[in-house]
Subunit: 201 residues, 2 copies
């Protein structure tokens, strides 16, 4: 990270690898893994196929890097939300974050991890499974946070952390699909408010 060390031999790379990855991420976000062709990806990245293969390996590894970047950038809200003081605040921050990320002013609607490869042909099963794990991991982290909340007395003793986490995750996915359907932030925020009406005291 930081400025690259000038101790590497050979011809220097002529493009900004971070910016290229950012653009690839947005293409995957809008098109999904299979819907994003090498031609469109490299076109958006502003480089040739050869340069892409030299820098990232192949299409699948490019997607993996893009997914990493997505998790550290647009989807970082999922991790930040866990730091909220109460379970309710965690749930609210998580869903409000989902609303923001799935309706970026200048970017693609929806969630990369949902649109990426919900259904796909057999060849990209690896990417499909990667995304299933990604989404389930997010649920597990939420579940652990809610379990802590029960221990801390922040949630009632009889609350089921796993169940609440699955519910919040489902809401997040639902928001992502509604965003892809064209709903805006204001309408999605209403959905969030409605969802939390029954949140355990």
């Amino acid at each position: 990270m930081g400025d690259s060390r000038r101790a590497v031999m050979g011809r220097p790379r002529e493009f900004d690898i971070d910016q290229a990855l950012e653009r690839a991420m947005r293409v995957f976000w809008a098109r999904g893994y299979e819907g994003a062709s090498l031609a469109e990806l490299t076109g958006a990245m502003g480089i040739s196929k050869t340069s892409m293969y030299a820098a990232f390996g192949n299409k699948e590894q490019l997607f993996r890097k893009a997914l990493q970047r997505y998790g550290a950038g647009p989807a970082a809200y999922a991790t930040r939300a866990l730091e909220e003081p109460t379970a309710r605040a965690v749930a609210l921050a998580f869903l409000r974050g989902a609303v923001c990320t799935t309706t970026p002013p200048g970017g693609p609607s929806g969630c990369l991890t949902v649109q990426g490869a919900l259904a796909s042909s057999d060849e990209s099963r690896a990417v499909h499974d990667l995304l299933v794990d990604w989404r389930n991991d997010a649920g597990v982290r939420l579940e652990e946070r809610f379990r802590r909340a029960v221990n801390e007395g922040d949630l009632p003793r009889n609350a089921d952390p796993r169940r609440l986490a699955r519910f919040i995750m489902a809401m997040g996915f639902g928001i992502a699909v509604q965003a892809a359907n064209g709903l805006g932030p204001a309408e999605l925020d209403e959905i969030v408010d409605t969802a939390l009406l029954g949140w355990p005291a």
Copy 2:
């Protein structure tokens, strides 16, 4: 409909067109529109590409017919739920129906209208838009039913039918994604119960 009239000339079709469409629907369901190749589709249908084109037109029209069949079959719960006597019963029937349909014992997990083409390349924008409309139409029907419920005093005067409909639709989509993630009917039913905890008296 019913048994086909025996007054058509020419060589009779050698396959059951209904069964072929059913199998195509399942492939689209599992693979999405773009992820389902002609080879896999016709393989599952048990017919040749030529026969498929003669019977259905092309891939897009085959998908449209499959979507029609999906709406009349697996997704019929969305229409049936509207006939429940109270708004709460409508919402519950809708979501329980979603659980059943997205976790069929011998079929693909998830919802065809969600996995079909959430994100896609530019060429299949027509199918993408078709599915957006399909999903939004379902929301509108739910909204109208809830509006009626307000008028009938079944929902509080200050309840917002559109907002409730969007919330229930989001829950349905969330359930579909969670089903694709591997959750089973029991776990999804828990999500439904949790979602309805805050339902307006």
